[in-house]
């Protein structure tokens, strides 16, 4: 391959990208969300029955409703199926390393406080490999919205157990059933200092969207936990062969109970899934705390 002159370029020119995009539009037409999506990356990689499409749609609707200046919204993802969200949104977006979306987002926010920074990633990424960053960003009340899509397993790598897998959960690395105590993502965030914590299944799309809107507009560390089907990695090992089976399960087991103490919202196999807004309190953010302290000391 001759890399001397323009070999660093790929074979597609910008015009070809635009042309391919036009062709897609001719075939599929425009979708109301298209201006918020990198349509030239569609179709997405997610499996049929996955809840990520719903979670992303809710997020885009929430973004519109929030009234935020979209040139100043940045989305950061880690690795995994949910980690691909950053690649599909037509916003400044960063696809980082496993578990590290939150510290990357911390740097972005502090580097330009005018940005609204959203971390959109999965449970394995955010509270397993990235658990330390998750609790510390919440502790600092770092100004960011974290959307954690929780499907109780590592989907992309083939359905392995993680820190959220319920006791008894069958995965490719817990073939006899998981026997480790799992994390409750919402309780972890609340205990670490998050000012806004809500949980919804993707069945409750409107409520999910509303919580996402509230979280986007909430100063400080906000968490929206999204309970989502993973028929390929998790559902089919738990008598939910299709995404629809899991949605039916959510319908039967979902209990909306706002204001519940997050410690009482653990999710077990076959048990209820308590949903709602659990935490909504006001507390100065990291940057507000910093400004207060520095002005007290330095402006004397």
């Amino acid at each position: 391959m001759d890399l001397e002159m323009n070999g660093y370029r790929l074979d597609k020119s910008l015009e070809q990208h635009v042309e391919a995009e036009g062709l897609r539009e001719d075939v599929h037409g425009r979708h109301p969300m298209d201006d918020l999506l990198r349509t030239d990356r569609l179709p997405h990689i997610w499996c049929p029955g996955c809840g990520l499409g719903t979670a992303l749609t809710c997020f885009l609707s929430a973004l519109r409703k929030s009234g935020l200046d979209l040139d100043l919204v940045a989305v950061v993802s880690g690795i995994g199926c949910t980690g691909r969200v950053a690649g599909y949104v037509r916003l400044d977006s960063f696809h980082t390393t496993p578990g590290r979306a939150i510290p990357f987002a911390t740097g972005l926010k502090l580097g330009n406080p005018d940005l609204k920074v959203v971390v959109f990633s999965g449970d394995g990424d955010l509270v397993t490999i990235g658990g330390n960053h998750f609790i510390h960003a919440a502790r600092r009340n770092m100004d960011m919205t974290v959307i954690c899509v929780n499907n109780f397993n590592y989907g992309m790598t083939g359905g392995q157990a993680g820190a959220t897998t319920p006791i008894g959960g069958i995965t490719t690395t817990s073939p006899y059933g998981n026997y480790e105590y799992p994390f409750n993502v919402s309780a972890l965030a609340a205990a670490s200092g998050a000012v806004y914590v809500a949980r919804w299944t993707v069945l409750h799309a409107r409520r999910l969207e509303r919580s996402m809107t509230e979280a986007l507009l909430k100063p400080g560390f906000s968490l929206v936990e999204v309970i989502s089907p993973c028929p390929t990695g998790f559902g089919r090992r738990h008598k939910q062969r299709q995404g629809l089976d899991t949605m039916r399960y959510y319908h039967e087991h979902g209990v909306i109970r706002h204001g519940t103490d997050p410690r009482d919202t653990d999710i077990g196999l076959g048990g209820v899934i308590i949903e709602g807004k659990f935490v909504d309190v006001d507390k100065p953010t990291f940057l507000e705390q910093r400004s207060r302290r520095l002005s007290q000391v330095l402006d004397r």
Binding site: M1, L3, M5, N6, G7, Y8, R9, L10, D11, K12, L14, H17, R38, D40, R41, D71, L72, A74, V76, A86, G87, R90, L91, D92, S93, F94, H95, T96, T97, G99, R100, I102, P103, F104, A105, T106, G107, L108, K109, L110, G111, N112, D114, L115, N132, H133, H136, R290, L294, L298
Partner: protein, 392 residues
Amino acid sequence: MKGTENGVLSGEFFMQGDIACAEGAICAGCRFFGGYPITPATEVAQRMSERLPLVDGIYIQMEDELASMNAVLGASWAGQKAMTATSGPGFSLMMENLGLGIMLETPCVLVNVQRGGPSTGLPTLVSQSDMMQARWGSHGDYSTIALAPSSPQELFDLTIHAFNLAEIYRTPVLVMTDAEVGHMTEKVVIPPLEEIEVVSRRKPTVPPEEYLPYRVEPGELVPPMAVAGDGYRIHTTGLTHDERGYPATADDSAQWPLVQRLIDKIEKNKDDIIVLEEEGLDEAEVAVVSYGMAARTAIWPIQMARQEGIRVGLLRLVTVWPFPDRQIRELAGRVESIVVPEINMGQIVREVKRCAEGQAEVSSVPHPGGGIHDPRKVLEAIRRAAGREGGK
């Protein structure tokens, strides 16, 4: 210090190396430091925590070095000049996201005040044993820039230089200093702001709809960089990506041009990047090739050897990576032998041997760390290299 509006603390100081490093960063325009305390690099963080709030900068102590490196990358993508400083154990943790920085082409500076290893090793004592980790520590193929200061003054100067190189080549630049230089207190001169050359990254000139974040024009190797909030709505990923920044992982069609360019943008600009310091090499039969603290320890033995009639000179590698292959090859062609003292068990000497291509005898003067070379050992090595048997 409150009076330094532009951030530059001009004047003459009796200053510790680590502190000079922090001051250099501030002179270079660094306004973000994300770090984690670790001996012997802690003073860099301490100084930054004190200084940055005075110049509208942000200091944040992260939860670990994984987070520190990521926060630095994030800040750079928000348009800031950003830095972190660490030592061996933290450097190991940073390898993951040093790779991300290289892949995303993120300008930033990583300072490693090296201490003895492996593992926790010798927290308070010197070594230069991370030199190969600096080159090869993160997985995958890439090239890198690493500088090796020999004094607090140079730690100041090279930190500024590191930021400039990072901005020009859009890559993390490593300042590979050591506990001895970092904790050494010496005269440091900080020039007035107008005498300090500061370079900033190239921004795109085309409108967003025409901008491809990883496209280079023919003849170029470093793409212009739009950051978050510029309105370009960029996407970037640690996956192998095409010119749009989109993942391209189905085959090697994007891998070739991307990895080749990441390497070439440094290797093909070696002549502009590499800084070497030569002393007394014109008629030399023996050359000492060294860097950082070890090069400083070599000064006295070189003088002693000359008094004994040995024609010996010093080639000091200010830039260690990219490696000065051509210069070492030329040197090996005109001297009889090369002596390489370094505070490790023989890392850079391997590169010197490779480049000497058998034209000159190359010998290592190793030290496992925990102290600097006994200058007499270096003198003995020079004597042996000059054919004075027994080294005495």
